[in-house]
Symmetry: C2
Subunit: 286 residues, 2 copies
């Protein structure tokens, strides 16, 4: 069976007839990284169900302002359900909870992800922009490093690399050849290969698309996310996105990973932070 790349179809949720606030989806194996489905992709799926639920009606709120995800178990390719619980409908924002579940090995449902989120209307935002953060400086996409340059064993462990057009700044890929910078920063360009332009729900996936920033500190191995919170601050303009991952506090076997997403007009459109567990060298050696 051929698979036509289509982010919207792959994150689609279908409201279950007769069961309000329950949505069915089918997680595609293309979005795997390590053992499970990419955490950002799951967040986009949950976000889509929340948008359908909180965005319904004339006074609905369809844009994520803030969304916090707690990862409970490793998700697999295949069917999943998202159940949304509306906590508050307000004038300017609404808040909901969402739970993503899959049938476990014994057939009973297992929760993969629990989410809290506040949605609103990004078009309501004031024009005032006083962002003091500066957009990253890096070479143009055609001078950056695509996934085709990654080692085959790395790509085999991360099928999602074939699903996105990600070009890393050569200054932040030393880790791939055993020479991490030690600064704790990885940055790159992002777009979907099928040409679909970015929107707030895509940003929820993009905040988690770069390799773990711990690679740039010379600590390899996937870094499973405990918690990931994203603030979407504006609708992104069409074109390439720039993504910057960084960390300031790698300690005790955990690290915080901050992501910023900048759009083609130099607007900081999303900020995220996650707490991830890192396998330390002494653990790997055991």
């Amino acid at each position: 069976m051929t698979h036509t790349r289509d982010f919207d179809r792959e994150t689609a949720v279908v409201r279950r007839a007769g069961e309000p606030a329950v949505y069915d989806t089918d997680l595609h194996g293309d979005w795997k990284v390590g053992k499970g489905i990419n955490g950002g992709l799951l967040l986009s799926v949950a976000g889509r169900a929340l948008a359908a639920e909180l965005g319904a009606g004339e006074d609905g709120h369809a844009d994520p302002f803030s969304i916090s995800a707690y990862y409970l178990s490793t998700s697999a390719a295949g069917p999943a359900t998202v159940t949304v619980d509306t906590l508050r409908r307000g004038r300017s924002v609404s808040t909901g909870a969402a739970s993503l579940r899959q049938p476990g090995e014994d057939g009973t449902e297992v929760e993969r992800l629990r989410v809290l989120a506040t949605f609103g209307d990004l078009d309501d935002h004031l024009d005032d922009v006083r962002t003091s953060a500066k957009p990253p400086r890096m070479p143009p996409p055609e001078e950056c490093v695509g996934a085709e340059s990654a080692p085959p064993e790395f790509r085999a462990d991360a099928p999602l690399l074939g699903r996105v057009d990600l070009r890393l700044d050569p200054a932040t890929v030393g880790w791939a050849v055993g020479a991490p910078s030690g600064k704790g920063e990885i940055r790159g360009w992002f777009r979907l290969p099928e040409g679909r332009e970015p929107d707030p729900l895509l940003l929820l996936m993009v905040v988690d698309i770069l390799p773990p920033v711990s690679f740039d500190l010379g600590v390899y191995g996937w870094a499973p996310t405990l918690e990931l919170t994203t603030h979407v601050r504006a609708k992104p303009a069409p074109g390439w996105l720039r993504v910057v991952h960084s960390t300031r506090n790698f300690a005790g076997g955990y690290l915080e990973e901050d992501a910023e997403i900048w759009d083609s007009t130099d607007r900081l459109v999303a900020q995220s932070r996650q707490l991830a567990r890192v396998r330390m060298p002494q653990e790997t050696a055991r």
Copy 2:
């Protein structure tokens, strides 16, 4: 009636007999700021109920690793209940949800706060610390500015200033005399006046104790929190804490506010980020 200052008593939760996972508490008016109870204090209360629930038993997890709070309505002094829902008990961490409710004006319960959190055991953390963030440099507490220097109308609007020993770095209090630095940073020393030493549950309050960082950008008025996520990364050592609030993205009528808490051994013990709504000058003028 005299009131003896006691953070532990003021954040105490009592498990309701016969109703597992329901805790009663009484929010003290001393912790008001603007119209409601301080969001950090509420987070400490919710954290205490989560610690009681997730920390129970031999394999319990009593320390917050990550806790995300979504603020739904303005809380008031008086009775409140916290209901905890355990989502997953794991070997190294456990995850739960908590809901803080109060009787509304018509007597029916109104949800103030919904929380998701992952708890573990901070003593299990590895010794490896590679934090690249640097502790803030500021004058000693006795050369910093205490709440007694705040304008009386400001103190009247923030009773909690009488409940904490907070000393702001003179370099970041220009806003109090109409000369904000424009950098978007406020920092200071913190301790409880009753001499109680810091612990992880106190940190949940301290992340939200400084004035809104928007003051340093010359935008006054309280900045209500939509969402606040805190990562507790280590148990704080006894002594003064240093707190730094900063923002990089003040735009569209919202700002992200980052807090770092450093302990007396120069360890970065907590990081938090919140999304807050700011009243812009044009709004204030309307």
